[in-house]
Symmetry: C2
Subunit: 473 residues, 2 copies
């Protein structure tokens, strides 16, 4: 724990509810929702931007290191304290006061502590939603700090695209509040400073409030599981779908045989639609949707999907080998069971990579072919967002594998996965989890010196205090 | 002209074609396409990123001020030299070598010197386009430096949204080249540095190359002119259209009676569809489009539009008073004639403002009501992009108005327009032309000191040399 006098001073600023020091209460903030475990010097839970500013100012003036924390659902140790017990967690979980909907502007001004699910539940009655579709249920501050994308990026884009404005507190001696909380869609009046706080893990300032673009809720949805003729046909299939469906297409998700098999094994209630139950090597979940109620004279969406698939089927060198149109909840149930299923196969080492759309399958094929020799006993259970190039590249090590007792194994594996992705397949080592302690080394390796210098410069005049679990400069 | 020894050195770096000093050849670079006229010390026309780097390095080391210039079609004197004759224009017009299309990724890597029209002409055979729809025909570098939006922002967003990567040359002694030319859609591996070069008028570096998102060309389009029941019904009408048309809706443009009348007067070939030729107070151009060819069993797009308008007509408190479905080329001909028409009415003083969508009409009404007393003889001829909040707020002063001989008039008018927009209607004083000499004063007035400090900091470690016509710090 940090010194008593600091606790007292911070309690004076934030009140009793705003400062957590009892170990059993701190534990939830020391533990990542999926991975990771650290030790906090205290947990601060300010309830307003002014309180955030006061707390940050105090900590900067007293040299106390802060780790911003939101939903803590990430993969890269971006929001948990290290093991030292000296870092203080600054949680946004009590920042839930502003909820100002502007229906004409299709936007909302909302505090950073809201969970995505809460936000969307409250928007439902207005037929609106914040269109970032994720497996986890993060809070908004963390979504901004990682620039999450999710399963419907293809149609709606990422958090960056859907953020109109931010309110940010800098880690300087004054705890300066930056009002970047513009609610305009067009505004080019200088540097768009909000951009430097998106996707940078809170290192340059803590987002307390945001103005978000909202989209209309889909009222009609149709889904299918598609079997591409081969891995090389995945992109031609995507292109054929985009050509014929335009903005109807709202998801085009790839799932490998291994990942599907794991889901079926772990969730027996899932329906296996494949002939004879034989899982194909690779399956695409495609979704099309429309934001209006069915209208007379209009082809139902299932029929549209059927027509389009029939057209694609008729193409010379048809990219499609099989297709199963099914109800959206069933189709998505399979997709959503992949993560859970894969976890049960053994020790999971998860990567969040991205590629040019045309390079995804080549990377996965390359790794699957090389794995048995390079790391025997490691299974690739990839799935991902083919429409935008993102891949959840999941590796499973059997629980009894001798690799797990090799102290160099995980480090070697990580290096290989990252370097092949970046050096040989033009990929990114972090698609939508940004940077945290866990991928600091790979950031250091691949970031040009000039950009590190620029990041250090930026840090020096925004948040010179100790903020965040990651070093960009 | 700058000193002979500098001309010789720069000619050594760029070749004869790369350095222009003859007054009659420089004139085109000293004159804005729409406004503005300055005097250049020389014009540099590098043909590669390496040449840009060499030229910038030389100029920075020798204290020569550079003004980056692209299509020079802007409104704010962002890309013409001042009157001193000491500023050197750095034109990107010869940067037209790279044109690397990635069909699977739906993206292109292309040099900054391409004109928008050239880019889109070459993309047409692939059924693709760069979806920024503008009246002017800028080059890509300038589109990035101003973050243009245009008439189809509602569907496709602005340049920022459609830019995947940039190559930038900094104005430092080395002429450092930053490779931010990533072609990934998801990539969160640090500060997204490209963002600081978008919409900042070239002050932080010169974009030489970009990677752009492409969209599929519409294959079906339907348009209508809509007469809202009143100004207060414009937003309910937009909301009703969005609710029923979702991503079909590709334009929702507002046109004031004055602007339409000017277009009809100036372009007699335009068809006047309104009853008895009486122009309503305000008219909306709406466009819906689909990216696929008409399919059997599918309602044609004109019929979809008709159905939707009929539904809206039937609403209680219907926001619609009249509607004219017409062929797209005719409908757009009216919209595209507005700028030209307005110019012929008198002296044009043009503003590019933006508001929350719900605030546009209130601002325009406020100004129209106040104008006769405040500036008698000034006519408001506004039109704009209601779907995204942008307004071309055009003011016309009759050619014989005594105001034109009042030396304080234009300054007073500008101040009034801007301050009412920003202070009373939460608007932006620059929607999509960014900042140049012409709106420097308003930038200085409305930008918080802290953000100016941050801009000065950013400038110091990116482009400390003299670059651009505007001072952000």
């Amino acid at each position: 724990m940090i010194e008593r006098n600091h606790i007292d001073a911070l309690t004076g600023l934030l009140g009793d509810r705003g400062v957590v020091t009892r170990p059993e209460e701190m534990e939830a903030y020391e533990t990542g929702a999926r991975y990771d475990r650290g030790s906090a010097g205290a947990v601060l839970r300010p309830a307003t931007t002014a309180e955030v500013s006061g707390a940050i100012s105090y900590c900067v003036r007293n040299g106390i290191a802060l780790v911003p924390q939101s939903g803590n659902t990430g993969l890269v140790s971006g929001s948990t304290p290290d093991g030292s017990g000296t870092e203080v967690v600054l949680s946004v979980d009590r920042l839930t006061r502003h909820f100002e909907l502007d229906l004409d502007n299709r936007s909302i001004r909302v505090d950073a502590g809201f969970r995505l699910s809460d936000l969307n539940r409250r928007l439902e009655e207005h037929d609106l939603f914040f269109p970032i579709d994720l497996g986890a249920d993060p809070r908004l501050g963390g979504m901004i700090a990682t620039n999450t994308g999710g399963s419907r990026f293809l149609k709606y884009g990422d958090v960056r695209r859907n953020t109109l404005g931010l309110k940010v507190v800098l880690a300087d001696e004054a705890g300066t509040v930056l009002d970047l909380d513009c609610d305009l869609r067009k505004n080019n009046t200088g540097v768009d400073w909000k951009q430097i706080f998106i996707g940078t893990s809170g290192a340059f300032g803590i987002v307390t409030e945001c103005v978000l673009n909202l989209e209309r809720l889909p009222k009609q949805t149709a889904t299918a599981l598609l079997v591409p003729a081969s891995g090389a046909h995945v992109l031609p299939l995507l292109n054929a779908m985009e050509e014929r469906l335009g903005a109807y297409l709202s998801a085009f998700e790839g799932m490998s045989k291994n990942a599907i098999a794991a889901a079926f094994a772990h969730v027996p209630s899932l329906k296996n639609p494949f002939q004879g139950g034989n899982i194909p090597d690779y399956v695409i979940l495609c979704e099309i949707s429309r934001t209006w109620e069915p209208r007379e004279g209009e082809q139902p969406l299932d029929a549209v999907l059927e027509t389009v698939l029939a057209e694609i089927w008729e193409l010379e060198q048809a990219p499609l080998a099989d297709a199963f149109i099914g109800p959206p909840h069933e189709t998505w149930a399979l997709r959503h069971a992949l993560s859970e299923g894969v976890k049960h196969l053994g020790k999971l080492i998860a990567f969040d990579l991205s590629f040019r759309r045309g390079d995804i399958m080549a990377y996965c094929d390359h790794m699957k072919a090389a794995m048995p020799e390079k790391f025997p006993g490691v299974t690739v259970c990839d799935f991902g967002h083919i429409g935008d190039g993102g891949v959840h590249f999941n590796l499973i090590v059997a629980k009894d594998s001798p690799l797990l007792t090799d102290p160099t194994f995980e480090q070697r594996l990580r290096e290989w996965v990252f370097t092949v992705a970046v050096d040989q397949h033009h990929g990114s080592f972090s698609a939508e989890h940004a940077i945290g302690r866990r991928n600091q080394a790979i950031y250091d390796l691949y970031t040009p010196e000039k950009l590190k210098e620029m990041a250090a410069g930026l840090k020096s005049f925004t948040s010179p205090g100790k903020l965040g679990s990651v070093r960009f400069g």
